[in-house]
Amino acid sequence: MNSRDAEVVSARGITKAFGTAGGTVAVLNGVDLSLRGGESVAVTGESGSGKSTLLHLIGGLDVPDAGALTVLGTDLRTAADRARAALRRDRIGMVFQQFNLIPSLTVAANLAFQARLAGRHDPARVKALAAALGLSDLMGRYPEQLSGGQQQRVAIGRALAGQPPLVLADEPTGNLDEATGDAVAALMLSLVRQQGTTLVLVTHSLRLAALCDRRVHLSAGRLA
Amino acid sequence: MNARWLLIALLWGPLPAAGQQDGFAGLGSDVEGFALPDPARPLAFPRDHGPHDAFRIEWWYLTANLRGDDGRDYGAQWTLFRSALSPTGAQSGWSTPQVWMAHAAVTTPDAHHVAERFGRGGIGQAGVVAQPFAAWIDDWSLGAEGGADGLDRLAIKARGSDFAYALTAVAEGPPVAHGKDGYSVKGPGGQASHYYSQPFYRVTGQLSLPDGAVHVSGLAWLDREWSSQPLDRSQTGWDWFALHLDDGRKLMAAQVRGAEPFVFGSLIDANGRVRPLEGADIALRPGRGTPPVSWSVDLPGEGLELTVEAVNPDSAMTTSVPYWEGPVRVGGSVGGRGYLEMTGYPLD
């Protein structure tokens, strides 16, 4: 487990562009970001400002075009596919707007999935997490049988079950109504804090952003 | 088996088109190896009642003008054709190169019933024996009755799907030879046949028709003819009359149509004496229609001006080789009745 002050994410001058029909569009244009252990940061910005892209880069799901990006000691500019997959598997938890649960697995299996992949499965912890997330009665169900709020709670549980040092959340409440979203977000933040996990939360909700330790704004491809 | 093929092979040619090239029914084609009519060969009976296998074609042709107990006019036809595919060959068995064809018909004023048969020579299905005379194919027969001599007394039987008849014919005069002692010239190129007739039959018998049986009586005429090439290649058909005149005379008149019609005939008196007729002796003029079912037949030298009218204009023989053959009524300078045969016309 990381010490509280170690640098978990270190990004310097990251750029990322996507080819589209109309030519190349630069989404990130020299982003600098540094995160310490246990810190929670909200990334806000307009639609299409590149919030999700930044998150995907930090998660090792995609590779920056230029700049330096080190996450939990792994240089993501140079890491091979296999190494990036290992980083995701072992040390990062992700929560998506679409929940993105594995439809063929039950709630229980989804909750434990990544922890087991990472080889850090602790049934007691999953049970406690499920209780904390209010999922204890739903463990045998399949994702399709759950409401959106319930699915997102499973996704949060999945991200936290392996006690990763870093959790990345991309608009986790974006598909939920306000009340549910607030409840889910509060739950996530409290769990993250309990575990001392570093959190990057992409959101356009200022209310949600205010709950984090720090807030950065992405605009014109740069953080402010 | 294709009837057309059989008939081409039988040399009775199926189509007027074919007839135009090789004479009617292929009778104008080559004769290599077959016997040819010989003017020096006299007729001899009963031998010549029988078949002449070395000649290519031969027929036994009986036509009867009948009157029924119901007062109506009827006609009956019984014909057997022999065709040799080869002048030589086996005399018996399936490989015998002789093929037989027969036509039978009954004509009423409003109907014309036709039947046709084919048979192979050499196996007994069809044939002719000279003495005692018998000609047959299947169950059709034309033969001497009750041990009668030659052609003097004949029993005639035939049947088709919708008719049958059984007649007895008794000759009241002698057989007569046409042309020069039975050597009958048929064209300007000298094509000829051996040809004799027995025109003096008195007939009685019974017709079985779809509406029932009719007892009939009347007159009949038997033609016997054999040859190997009776027609010139350009000759396309013929018109042939066999008339019983009320004064007891018989008239055979015929023309073979070609570039120039070739006309011949015989006027036979009641005792069987024959006066051969040639082109200039006979004037045949067709009436309307194709084939023309009314004619005028004039013998200027005899002062005879005859009109000939079909009893039933629709007397086409719907056989493999179609032609027209039916009873006629005779008017004009003397009354009478007879038979008309027309070949080589387009028929429906």
Binding site: F18, H56, G59, L61, D62, D81, R82, A85, A86, L87, R88, R89, D90, F96, Q97, Q98, N100, L101, I102, P103, S104, L105, A109, F113, Q114, R116, A118, H121, Y142, E144, D170 | M1, N2, A3, R4, W5, L6, A9, L85, S86, G89, A90, G93, W94, S95, P97, V99, E116, R117, F118, G119, R120, I123, G124, Q125, W136, D138, D139, R159, S320
Partner: protein, 806 residues
């Protein structure tokens, strides 16, 4: 089409531009379904036309015939007697001549009387020379292939005129020439009766008392004999059609599913539902017509490729003559297109109905897949149970159709049960497996099952058909080879041309060989069927080797003494004889002393002792002999025989040659079955490929989270391929018992009905292993492309899953 409809259509059609693979699959499905169906239909139609042509031309189809009673004969004199009595009859002489490897039918006709049979008699012989036709050495008419086959055969100088309107594999000659060629003396096979006879004829019985009237349907009708074979082909075609529909169904279903959003948008923009449905239906019809046309063309090619094989099969199994060529029939083209439209309609109906019922606004999530799948599986299981219950009923109904219906029930039930069984196995596995990835693999495989079940059912059906038919053919081959060994014991077989020559050969051979065994036979009616009776001498060759299936004690003694008869299995089963039953034979009935197997021969057969045979058939030609001689001397003796008697090569054959020839004919007979097997398996492979490709795009949302959770794309691709292989492997395992069940039905039910013989079943492990590998290869071929695409997918495509609305 209105401007708005065009607009709607272009909006809907744009879908295909984005998913060309789906379009390819949809078209391929309809095309393949139509192709195999219409191909087989073309083959069937051609064969039926051949039978009809044969029946028309030979006068053996529609017309009644007079045939001699057993032990009596009809001669030319009988023909003449009937004609002279007024009966319109025409004689025929029928028989077969050996020509190389095959036998050519000889038909002797009589052209003169044949014309009186009525117009139904089509042109059997093109125009020709009647003189040459009827006078020796004669003229024969045959089609090109037959003329070629007869090229080396000694026909006594007969010239052959090739023609197109002669029935296949038939030499048409004059009746007299046929009597010579077939050494029939003056005998006729039958007298064909004209349908319309004059009224008032004397009864036939009084003229030819030895003749019996044979109704057209009473005699061996090729159409009836071969019905089983055509039913077989049709069943294969239907199977292929269904497999093709599986492909279409999955493509169409997906296309409708994926265009729900477009449809919703269109309707929200004010396009009436009816118009949307109309355009969708028109689009489907158009695609069906395009694919159907291609399918008909392809089907024509399939038919043209199959036809020679079919002709060989029909000739080998049934002795039926069918031409190897193919004629285009408009009805066939139309029926192919109709099948394409109907198939597309069936495949698209569900999509149309669901589109029609779809609410205008998106309503929450769909039904939970697990529940829906479970419900679907329960329905399939119930249907399968119902089909299984119907199976014994079909069997009880009996007959060929019953047998095939039972097979259809069994196969369909097995297909329906496949997903149920696989699901149960996977569920059981899921509870047992440990590793997280394994668990996911099993769970995900189970979920994939609903999407792939149609393709897997198709694969299962193809495999089962392959195993079933392969086992049947293999059993047949094993039995047939063994039977040949038993039956072909003599070292040499000699066919003389005349009885004098045969006698001379016997005299010449007698001092230098161990035994000369006459193989003399005569045609006879056996229990109302045309068959053949053989005479054999009492010799160990028969006693020790003849393939007896069951016999009374001392059966060979009874045969030798003329107090018993042996019958072949066909006669035994068809006539439902039992050992000891009395069998009517020309010259008096005899009890059945034993049954022997007689494969490859459709007709009934019986064996008498030679004394008994010659007494009953004094005129049977005595031409053929088997010669026992030490086998090392056989080749030299064969050569010596040929030289001494100037015999053609074909007149003397040794055992090995005859065996090789028989086996070659056997293999050719089943060539068409093998071809159809390969085709069916190929179509199943395409079904699997299309199923996987269509699923691939739906798979991304399911795979992306796993990728995000730390699996490389390469690994995911490997797992996907493994999944396909596991499913195919499981399907193959499942197909084994189904295929063996099918083989059992073919051997025990269908063969007995169709051919009259029952074969012991030989299970070939080799065949099963080979087909298992074929299944895996099919799955590998089908799974490779989707897996490769997954391995090469860009992160951006996967990331879109996390952002896109589903």
């Amino acid at each position: 089409m209105t401007r708005r409809a065009r607009l709607v259509l272009s909006a809907l059609l744009s879908h295909w531009r984005r998913r060309p693979w789906q379009l390819v699959m949809l078209l391929a499905g309809i095309m393949l379904a139509t192709a195999l169906w219409s191909g087989v239909q073309a083959v069937n139609a051609e064969a039926r036309a051949s039978y009809a042509r044969a029946a028309d031309q030979l006068g053996t189809g529609a017309l009644e015939r007079l045939e001699p009673r057993p032990g009596t004969e009809l001669t030319t004199a009988d023909h003449v007697a009937l004609r002279r009595a007024g009966w319109l009859v025409s004689p025929v002489v029928e028989g077969r001549l050996r020509a190389g490897e095959g036998r050519v039918a000889v038909l002797g006709i009589e052209p003169a009387t044949r014309t009186t049979l009525g117009t139904a008699q089509g042109a059997a012989v093109p125009s020709g020379d009647l003189l040459a036709f009827i006078t020796p050495p004669g003229q024969g008419h045959a089609d090109q292939a037959t003329a070629a086959a007869l090229a080396g055969v000694d026909l006594g100088g007969l010239t052959i005129v090739p023609g197109t309107d002669v029935p296949p594999n038939t030499l048409v000659v004059d009746v007299g020439i046929a009597q010579r060629l077939l050494a029939r003396g003056d005998r006729l096979s039958a007298l064909v009766l004209a349908p319309d006879q004059p009224a008032g004829l004397p009864p036939v019985e009084g003229i030819v008392p030895q003749a019996v009237r044979a109704q057209p349907q009473g005699r061996a009708d090729p159409a009836a004999l071969t019905a089983s074979f055509h039913l077989n082909l049709t069943a294969f075609a239907l199977l292929s059609f269904i497999v093709g529909l599986f492909i279409t169904q999955s493509a169409v279903g997906l296309a409708f599913e994926q265009r729900r959003q477009v449809v919703r948008t269109l309707r929200a923009l004010g396009v009436p539902l009816a118009e949307v449905l109309g355009v969708l239906a028109a689009e489907l019809a158009l695609l069906a017509l395009i694919a159907g046309t291609a399918g008909v063309v392809l089907g024509w090619a399939v038919a043209a490729a199959l036809m020679p094989g079919v002709a060989a099969t029909l000739s080998g199994l049934y002795g039926t003559d069918v031409s190897g060529g193919l004629a285009l029939r408009p009805g066939w083209v139309l029926s192919g297109l109709a099948m394409a439209l109907a198939g597309a309609g069936v495949a698209g109906a569900r999509g149309l109905v669901r589109t029609a019922r779809m609410p205008l606004l998106a309503a929450g999530q769909g039904r939970p897949w697990a529940l829906a799948a479970a419900r679907g599986l329960r329905g399939q299981a119930l249907a399968a149970v119902a089909l299984m219950a119907a199976l014994p009923l079909c069997l009880a109904a009996g007959g060929l159709v019953g047998g095939f219906a039972a097979m259809a029930c069994g196969l369909l039930a097995a297909a329906l049960l496949l997903p149920v069984v696989l699901d149960a196995v996977l569920r059981a596995l899921a509870a047992r497996v440990r590793g997280v990835l394994t668990q996911w693999f099993v769970a995900d495989t189970r979920q994939q099952l609903s999407g792939l079940s149609l393709a897997l059912m198709a694969l299962m059906l193809a495999l089962a058909a392959n195993i079933g038919v392969g086992t049947m053919v293999g059993s047949f081959r094993t039995t047939f080879t063994g039977w040949l060994d038993q039956r072909l014991v003599a070292e040499l077989y000699v066919n003389a041309r005349t009885e004098d020559e045969a006698a001379a050969i016997r005299d010449w051979l007698a001092p230098q060989v161990d035994a000369i065994l006459p193989i003399w036979s005569a045609e006879a009616s056996l229990r109302g069927q045309p068959g053949r009776i053989f005479g054999v001498v009492d010799h160990p060759t028969y006693r020790d080797h003849w393939p007896i299936l069951s016999a009374q004690p001392g059966a060979w003694d009874a045969v030798a003494q003329g107090t018993g008869v042996l019958v072949n299995e066909q006669l035994y089963r068809r006539a439902r004889l039992a050992l000891g039953d009395s069998l009517d034979l020309p010259g008096g009935a005899l009890p059945v002393a034993g049954v022997y197997s007689d494969y490859g021969n459709p007709s009934p057969q019986a064996i008498l002792g030679m004394d008994s045979f010659t007494r009953r058939f004094p005129d049977a030609p005595r031409l053929n002999h088997a010669v026992r001689v030490p086998s090392d001397r056989a080749p030299a003796l064969a050569d010596a025989l040929r030289v001494r008697f100037a015999l053609p090569d074909s007149a003397v054959s040794n055992q090995a040659e005859v065996k090789a020839l028989s086996l070659r004919i056997f293999e050719r007979t089943f060539a068409v079955t093998a071809a159809l097997n390969v085709l069916t398996l190929g179509v199943a492979g395409i079904a699997l490929l299309t199923g996987l490709l269509t699923l691939a795009s739906m798979r991304l949302p399911q795979l992306a989270p796993v990728w995000a959770a730390g699996l490389t794309r390469r690994r995911l691709a490997r797992l996907e391929l493994a999944r396909t292989l596991v499913l195919a492997g499981a399907t193959a395992v499942y197909a084994v018992p189904v295929g063996l069940g099918l083989a059992w039905m073919l051997l025990v039910v269908v063969n007995v009905e169709a051919f009259g013989w029952r074969l012991p079943m030989r299970i070939s492990a080799d065949l099963i292993v080979r087909l298992g590998l074929a299944a895996l290869a099919t799955a590998l071929a089908a799974g490779a492309l989707p897996a490769l695409r997954l391995a090469r997918i860009t992160p951006a495509q996967l990331l879109r899953v996390f952002a896109d609305e589903r």
